[in-house]
Amino acid sequence: MHEIEMLINGRSYSGLAEARMTLADFLRHSLGLTGTHLGCEHGVCGACTVLVDGASVRSCLMLAVQAKGAIVETVEGLAATDGKLSPLQQAFQDTHGLQCGYCTPGMLMTIVELLRENAQPSEAQIRDAISGNICRCTGYQSIVEAVLLATGGKSAGRMSE
């Protein structure tokens, strides 16, 4: 067993984990941070995306022990402490960027990384950024629209309404 400490969403956490435990399982089951979801456990769907030291990673493809001492950001840290949604989260609600919500935490964390580097991404850049995140519900369009809404961007597509 390994003693693992990490700073998650600005708060210090620690727990014990077998070497083989993935970061995703450690967050979810050892620390109770169940906002991060597992959709495939083989690194394709992106539902488990979190930020480790500022970089998006698939937390199913990383061992918890590898995140020892890391700064981790998860969906639970996005809203303000009073619960007010971040502009990106609010835009997701406003454009109907989620349906079942299962892929949403991974989508959000992927987009958080994108927006830190590029405050006004184009539609193509947004699609490229979320190409590693699978959503079965929305067809992605409302997610793209959410990012554009949050960043004041415009869709290149034809708006029919």
Binding site: H2, E18, A19, R20, T22, D25, E41, H42, G43, G46, T49, A55, S56, V57, R58, C60, L61, M62, L63, V65, Q66, T110, E113, L114, D128, A129, S131, G132
Partner: protein, 291 residues
Amino acid sequence: MKPPPFEYFCPATLDEAIGLLSERENAKVLAGGQSLMAMLNLRYVFPDVLVDINNLHDLASIDVTAERIRIGAMTRQRKIEVDAALFARAPIFRSALKLVGHRQTRNRGTIGGSLCHLDPASELPLLALLLDAVVEAAGPSGRRRIPARDFIAGFMMPGIAADEIVTAIEFSPWADTHTFGFNEFARRHGDFAIASSAVHIERDSSLVIQRAAIAIGGIGSVPQRHFAGEKLLVGTSGDAGAIAAVVEACDQLEVIGDFHGGPEYRLSVARTMLRRSLHSALPGPNRPVAA
């Protein structure tokens, strides 16, 4: 889908890591983990010992000099994608890296990991082969340098011993005036390519091709150099006839099929990708440089 049990070590030095590999049975190196972790979760592999080399920070650097480019094995794919000095001398890396998996996997995945996983369709082994890179590996008896063509020993089989660790790749940059093309066709953005092609070209002042390298991935058991095509190209101006001949000569390459495509189909895709790469690398009056 949880990994089987294993003993885990995270050595602070390369020597320590090599020591573990040579002392312990059935030990595996964990680099970026973007393939190995999935294989562990799926229980396709059952190592007794995992040697995590993510603490070997010395192996994570890109050094660009006039004569030589050295990329440490633990350099993350994302870093290779955005490195400005590398882009200035070998811009093909950026074009290729954009097609490697997705941002989340490039943030973790390493060049050494890609080389050792050696998927026949993956981009970084293809570039190593294209650039006649030397793969540097360290083992119990010291470091040795392995030409990429020897390192690529067979289907997903890197030419190193079980107790060796790849530490870097090195290659000589081409002339600043070189041109390049990199294309691949995958089912979806970020998927492994059905076929890929990489082209490097140097021309003299009268635009005659002096030097050419062509590598084709995805269609055989390993990435392959298209030597016949290179020969056909050198000495020409890269006119339509030359390009057609080079593309035609792809039938001399090894082509195998799998679930995602039979040999005939993969060959057609490879030819199309090569044609596109040659067009990118050979801007002519009617062929503006591809963006």
